[in-house]
């Protein structure tokens, strides 16, 4: 067994591109679900419109990188309004239905043959990241250190993406922290508990829910940018519903309505996934496991991660950072 490689990939995954992009999008989802109680099952769509906003602006319209970022952000805000205006007046479960449907519509439009000229069909777009990597301050090479025998190195491109990513995560966490300690955040949390009570105290519930939807959507869209830049491409099927469900897993894993919850949740999620995959595929390769081949390991790891999550929810339903007292109140 090649334990060095297993540990190297596992530790790197704790801070890698996937952790960053999912973590930041999950912070946005935490604003929706954790703080405001909005059941948004379309977070992937916010990532998608941002990633595509960037790609289409640069590739199809031939405009510079920054214009792409701005269009991506605008697209996320517009999506929030489109989702919010018809549904935020309704009960929570309607928002869930509409968001999941809207996210699928967005994905299917991106991959449709009709709009292949604009969105590139199921292949998506590539070649829009030059503007970003032109800003890269890291000279070509590998960066990192050896942790004992374990090498932990990223190349200069990945370094640049995850540096920007972690700065964005820090900023998003800071903003969420400030907001949720303020009276504004108090109104959001109160809406999560009981909308009518908040109305009876003279607050415009609709307006606050819309603000929360836009804020969480814009933070989520940053995850979409990181995806597009990190993988130097956007494809429609990356922004499917399972992406949203992974983010829910991370939010709950870390502890809903906790500032760092989604970030830690994302790290844990990817570390577990990479570790299990590494160990199992090595075991198959070396011959310790004979009843399946390397291709099946990919499916089995999801089964094991699922089982692990079930155990977590049974024994620690509040997540890593959650407060057990809150769960006890919920059960009443």
């Amino acid at each position: 067994m090649d334990w060095i490689t297993i540990f190297s990939t596992t530790i790197k995954s704790a801070v890698g591109v996937e952790t960053v992009l999912y973590g930041i999008a999950a912070i946005g989802l935490n604003v929706h679900f954790g703080y405001t109680g909005l059941l948004n099952f379309g977070q992937a769509a916010f990532m998608g419109v941002a990633g595509y906003g960037l790609a289409v602006t640069v590739v199809v319209l031939g405009m510079p990188f920054w214009a792409g970022i701005i269009f991506g952000l605008i697209a996320a805000v517009i999506l929030a309004f489109l989702l919010g205006i018809p549904t935020l007046q309704l009960r929570a479960d309607y928002l869930a239905i509409v968001t999941i449907a809207a996210a699928e519509i967005v994905r299917l439009v991106f991959r449709s043959v009709q709009f292949k000229d604009v969105f590139g069909g199921s292949d998506g777009h590539r070649g829009f990241t030059e503007g970003f990597y032109a800003l890269n301050p890291y000279p070509t090479g590998n960066y990192g250190f050896n942790l004992g025998p374990i090498p932990l190195f990223f190349n200069h491109r990945t370094m640049w993406v995850i540096t920007v990513g972690w700065v964005l995560i820090a900023l998003a966490c800071l903003i969420v922290h400030l907001l949720m300690k303020s009276p504004w955040g108090r109104v959001l949390k109160a809406i999560r508990e009981d909308e009518d009570a908040v109305r009876s105290l003279g607050k415009s519930v609709f307006s606050y829910k819309m603000q929360a939807l836009v804020l969480g959507g814009v933070i989520g869209s940053l995850g979409g940018f990181i995806y597009g830049l990190g993988y130097a491409s956007v494809q429609p099927d990356v922004f499917g519903t399972e992406t949203t469900f992974y983010m829910y897993t991370m939010v709950i894993l870390g502890g809903a309505a906790r500032v760092l919850g989604p970030v830690i949740g994302s790290m844990l999620f990817w570390v577990l996934l990479v570790l299990i995959y590494g160990v199992l595929s090595e075991a198959v390769r070396v011959g310790y496991i004979t009843f399946m081949d390397t291709n099946q390991v990919g499916a089995l790891r999801w089964i094991l991660v699922g089982a692990g999550l079930i155990l977590l929810l049974v024994y620690r339903p509040q997540g890593i950072f959650g407060d057990k007292r809150e769960i006890a109140i919920d059960a009443r």
């Binding site: 903003i175 907001l179 009276p183 108090r186 508990e193 009518d196 009570a197 009876s200 809150e326 009443r332």
Partner: protein
């Protein structure tokens, strides 16, 4: 001592206002804070509320009573903007309020509580209270990001919240989650939270439902206290002892309409009210034959019982 005299003054003033009023539904009051005209709410074929004309006297405690399904809570919902009326108009302090959304109704000074208490469970008691304060600078998204802007106001709000909590004897619970309070304490919290809005008219939907007797007295005291502080109270209640104890005036609803008004001491002997609660012919047999049958049935039951006793 001073408070005592003031208390009797306010009560006396309220009672004096009602002294010579007729007992008819919709009777005009000398100084109404809330005037309701022809409010109708239908659910499909069912007319839940159809109130012709009602006025609520300023500075008084008015009870709204009626049998189950009389439409009291629905009426409350119409007035406070939680449900839209099919027809009708009402004014609060002379301002037309129909079609005004619930949060604007609350801002204008008309604040309600709910039959099923709505404590914000996973917020602390103190946060529940702070939420009630109006015109908070920190409730604006951009200003919320700069604590310096709202910190001073937050301190003021906290101080006011703590005073109210002390008055409602919830100060020991200030840092507990509201969800951990007992039913009665939640009622107290909800009332205290409503006061944070600085309302002119407090509308309480069954403030005593599910409250244990020990807390009832304290709640009653708080409701009376609202009037002493110059607020107007309108409440829905089933407990007639409470209605008699604290209200200055009683409005009776049945089948969606206001059927009678009057002082609490005499309202329950009003024939219209008795009919509404018990049915117009509740004590009359339906026919001569049925009366006979009822008598025989009772006699037979009695005889059977006696026989059983003697056999033992």
């Amino acid at each position: 001592m001073h408070a005592e005299t003031m208390s009797t003054d306010r009560k006396a003033a309220a009672l004096a206002a009602f002294k010579d009023l007729a007992r008819d539904p919709g009777v005009p009051k000398p100084d109404p804070i809330l005037v309701v005209d022809h409010v109708v709410r239908r659910f499909g074929g069912l007319t839940a509320v159809d109130v012709g004309h009602v006025e609520i006297q300023r500075g008084s405690i008015t009870a709204l009573i009626g049998p189950n399904g009389a439409g009291k809570t629905t009426f409350f919902n119409q007035l406070t903007g939680f449900d839209t009326a099919d027809a009708g108009s009402w004014t609060f302090n002379g301002r037309s309020m129909n079609g005004v959304p619930a949060h604007k109704v609350a801002r204008s000074g008309m604040v309600r509580t709910f039959q099923l208490t709505k404590a914000l469970s996973r917020l602390t008691v103190l946060e529940n209270m702070r939420l009630g304060a109006q015109k908070q600078k920190g409730e604006n998204f951009w200003r919320a990001l700069v604590p310096r802007v709202w910190r001073a106001q937050e301190d003021e709000i906290t101080e006011r919240a703590e005073e109210l909590l002390a008055r409602f004897k919830l100060d020991a619970k200030r840092d507990d989650f509201a969800g951990s309070l007992s039913g009665g304490q939640r009622k107290l919290l909800e009332m205290a939270r409503a006061l944070m809005v600085n309302p002119e008219l407090v509308m309480l939907d069954e403030p005593m439902a599910g409250v244990n007797p020990a807390l009832t007295q304290s709640l009653l005291g708080h409701v009376k206290d609202l009037r002493e502080q110059g607020m107007t109270v309108l409440f829905v209640e089933h407990d007639m002892d409470m209605v008699r104890d604290i209200s200055d005036w009683v409005i009776v609803m049945a089948q969606g309409a206001v059927i009678a008004e009057g002082p609490p001491s005499t309202i329950m002997s009003d024939q219209r009210v008795i009919d509404a609660y018990l049915g117009a012919h509740h004590d009359a047999p339906l026919s001569e034959g049925e009366l006979e049958a009822q008598l025989q049935e009772a006699e037979a039951a009695l005889e059977a019982e006696i026989e059983e006793e003697t056999q033992k």
